[in-house]
Symmetry: D2
Subunit: 365 residues, 4 copies
């Protein structure tokens, strides 16, 4: 019986440790075994480590992964877009698996809220077969029904630099359509903010302002095409930031504002930045960060529409890969990757992300 | 020079008093002089009297009015829908006048936010000619460009029972479309709540729940077709009300929730009542009632869309009159009128509304 | 081995004949065996009999069916809405089965165009087990994945009177939303036309005109709430019908026009009936009836939006049943059923429908 | 009394001739006199010359114009976007004037169908004062209510190279939104086709195919970013073109197809190029070019949505100018201008356009 290594989180708040598990002898029909090339560390992994979601333990974290197909189960002949699949192909996949048939999938048509949803790196304990269900490992076992995508002409760095931020942004901006010619404000310059900027710019936003920091991130935002940036270190007062946005929008406010911060106060601040009849997208609140004082009269008087969007569907991953392939030069997501760690330093990788001292860290097993 | 009487508010917080002003000698082209038959007291009038908006004084309040055309200016041959107009015709009109050409009207297409907006009963001081610019008076002078509507087969009681609540609800539910088959919760059983209920029911809502009080109002809600009512006096705990809504919606939450309360805490409560992918309309916050603690994560996780809608446009008035004419039996708005006052008791009428001790008070000059 | 009878179509254009097939010994997990109570004859069955779609033969037709559960496979404990299911329950089901995961289901979100779609009464030959896959039979075998709906407080007559016309109309009017207050024209007074009328009326249409015939159908349309009807026998000229519609809509044309005829010329006629900025729904062209001369300039100049909608999804069936339960008195679909036939007269039933001499025929095995 | 020259069309089918008219002595409040710098010849001018619309004669054609403000009427202090205006400023304007208050403007919200609409170069006879109401002249008199736009950092060549094609495309693609990531087919490579391509590309189209000719136009399409082109001279068979589109879209058809040809047969051809659930925009049929055989079943079975869009509103001109300023390098519309004529050769300019032997001709008075 062959074994392979994985960085395992024994419990919340505990250091990751490298363990060995047996690889599956047999690959079910519809499944695939993948040799991990590179796994991304997402900010969400830090929240998971802190116990902010009730996940099973021990667990192999990692929901952003690129690998090479080692073995294919029966019937897996094509990827999710119809491209032929073979052993050795480089692939990524949608971390969330959905059923397509439950009430939320088929009646409400909210597949991200699938009642049978499970996600690699989040839903599966590692002490039960097939063990390998997260990205921080040498191998990962993809169950039947996983949306697999063959990667051609796209580097692992681009895929992981974009990570789950890009699919989150694609989904969010599908719900709150940025209109052609819109003036757009992005609150936040982390991965989600930069991804939202890229999607907004390529959706026809005529002028974009990114509010965030530190300076290097804003520099990257400008490279991604932001016409204006506001550094929160330099402009720490919300009222002063609002003033700047008003000045940049002819005193009217932005057509669309996208929250990519995850801090509740940002929402009240951002609503004030919208023009009459404007749009606001709450995109950064995947996790529960508590309440903030908010005035509903602003929504009424300005006749705003406020959108929420959570996680993403496989079709957003398909769109993301296509986007990276075609517009990778205009939006160099690969440049977000700042740190690389071997598998046995997975805990350091996580800690680096937890200290927000990296743009994006990856594990190269 | 002929004179007529009006109930004038000399300043904020002061009793209304009856004054006489000269009627205009001449009616401008495009204008009309109307003999007031009946004028509604709106909850907004109470807020205006308390000084919550910076309006001119002295002023004749009253933005819900029905009257008979006394004199027509040159060129006023048809009402806003194209029906022929003559002296003696019974009419009402859209209180808000908009220009159709400013940036907000023609670019942003948010005519309720018209940069040149003015409104009868709100924008005009009574000590300047033409003096008569509010409903609490024997006459009112309609300036050129007012959207006038001839009333046929609709009683003044129905028009004023519906008042500005119905046009507000029609506008709001145009923005947040109630889907055919939706389960709808209405927060509030005042005039706006009942109007929202009527529009939701007639838009295809399959099941409606009204949360409010007192009991008589909920009784009226049931007559308007509400399948369920929750009396806030009997269920004072938000958590208990949420439980009831969840029970009534198969544990999923409502497809659409409409806030018609004007109290900020209702918004946080109502967002929790939405299903995944549901809709929420902030309709009751015409005025600024301050902030409330709100959790943005709810909007993201549930993938909600939250709408704001403010006041109404003339086309909503056209739709309201048509609705009252055709569906007046199903939705007997005339029955909301509970108190009638002569013009010299206008202040009592206002106080009755301020004490919320009436369903709807009107002045019959 | 137990057997049961079915009316089988041996080939196109051949009389149906009653045959016996063995009932399945075993019910797969997820499946169900149902004793047919009543099966509807749909106009589409006539088209199928004429060979207008390439379906397998021999076949048991019938895609509108109500029955009692005879046996339940393992794991079938609840119906599609979550209601508990037991043997003896009265049920109906969505004839079309979809996968939820193919490209058309999950990327394009067009589940009626599911790449793995199959439909009872249309897709399965009767000479292979489980044989019973259409409604014209004593039993029907529901494969795993069928969307089953328990019927309570709804009669088989209502369900089959509505038939696949109602779900088709619900789907169509989900795509082309009838706005609250819209003036609507329905072209056609057959089952689809009446169903579209019912959905439009209950969606807030303020005034409806049904164009069709014969007189009894238009009488039924008026009972369903149509304000106006135009009898094509009395007004055979398209120009005269257009004139009537213009007169009924103040010379402007209808806000929304719904084609429920299936005759191509109706489309060119109906587009002219729309107002500037109006909407048109091509709903009656499930089958291919060829081309018609059409002027694209009309679509441009009037700034129309034209919608197509094909078949329906399970969620439309859920909505239909809820609608029949709640609004069955306002829209008495059960009254459409005009003829009943025993199973051995299935061919006569089909011929009656083919001659359009019935409102709706059903088979009662 | 000062006079100026204009190229006048005495009647349909007659050569244009240069005439002199007196310039207005006085400029009304709200009006402006503009010295024409450059006027575009639009394909529509050819149709007008042929008598395809019932316009007054004699007339000065020209609805695409750039000029310098010679004199400003009282009250004209700012342009339509709020920028300060002074004599000597370079400006353009929206040829169509709308009222903002008629039924079509304010109820139906279809301002291009304004009941009081008039347009420079189309609606005004030149033998009545103020005479100068078209672009083919030394001066043009802009009546009160004209939406004037100050031009800064945009060349007259860019504005006229884009001409009314760009505003038409912006309006059309506002109605039929190109989704981010959509595969788009543009039928036609004339000015409207290239403009539609530019708007689609900048709206997030992931892959575009332009069908048209001749080769130089397709070359320009590729410079505007078209990934694929199909030359109708090389692929004259509709079936072969459909095959190519299917091959380029993975056998599924395009997400969105935009008709910019004006020939009715293109519409039937283009509908077949759409994917299931796709979108189709009829944009090239400003004029009435008659009927074509079309199969409504295609719209139903594919569940298409078909949009019409006619002319444009002032806000589209505002967006166009902003777009030319910001994205002029990516989409070099100025390069479309291929021929320049002095005013006394206006008829040759028109004939050159009539022979389709120019990309775009302009008059430089």
């Amino acid at each position: 019986m062959q074994t392979a290594k994985a960085a395992v989180m024994p419990d919340f708040h505990q250091p990751l440790e490298v363990r060995s598990y047996p690889l599956p002898d047999e690959i079910e029909a519809g499944a695939a075994l993948v040799r991990v090339e590179m796994a991304g560390i997402c900010g969400t992994d830090v929240h998971l480590w802190k116990g902010q979601l009730p996940i099973p333990r021990p667990i192999i974290l990692g929901h952003e992964t690129v690998g090479l197909i080692a073995r294919l189960g029966e019937g897996v002949e094509r990827d999710w877009t119809g491209a032929p699949l073979a052993e050795g192909d480089r692939v990524t996949w949608s971390a969330g698996r959905l059923c397509g048939l439950c009430y939320n999938c088929s009646v409400l048509r909210q597949p991200t809220r699938c009642l049978n949803r499970s996600a690699y790196g989040i839903s599966f304990a590692s002490d039960e077969p097939p063990h390998f269900s997260g990205g921080y490992a040498e191998y990962i076992y993809l169950r039947p029904g996983t949306a697999i995508f063959k990667l051609e002409d796209v580097s692992p760095e681009a895929v992981l630099g974009a990570g789950c931020a890009l699919v989150t942004a694609i989904h969010g901006l599908e719900r709150m359509q940025v209109g052609w010619g819109d003036k757009v404000v992005v609150q936040g310059s982390g991965p989600v903010g930069l991804a939202a900027l890229a999607v907004a710019k390529s959706s026809g936003a005529s002028e974009t302002t990114v509010i965030g920091g530190p300076a290097e991130r804003l520099e990257l935002a400008r490279e991604f095409g932001a016409e204006h940036t506001i550094n929160i270190d330099e402009v720490p007062e919300p009222a002063a930031r609002l003033n700047q946005v008003m000045r940049l929008t002819g005193g009217r406010g932005a057509d669309a504002v996208i929250e990519c911060v995850g801090i509740p106060t940002a929402v009240a601040e951002g609503l004030e930045m919208c023009r009459d009849g404007g749009k606001y997208l709450v995109l950064g609140h995947y996790g529960d960060a508590g309440t903030t004082p908010l005035n509903p009269h602003v929504i009424t008087r300005k006749q705003l529409t406020v959108y929420g969007s959570w996680a993403s569907e496989p079709r957003h991953m398909a769109a993301a890969i296509d986007f990276l392939r075609k517009q990778g030069e205009r939006f160099p997501f690969d440049r977000l990757i700042s740190h690389r760690f071997p598998l046995d330093q997975a805990f350091e990788a996580l800690q680096t992300t937890a200290r927000w001292s990296s743009s994006k860290s990856v594990i190269v097993p």
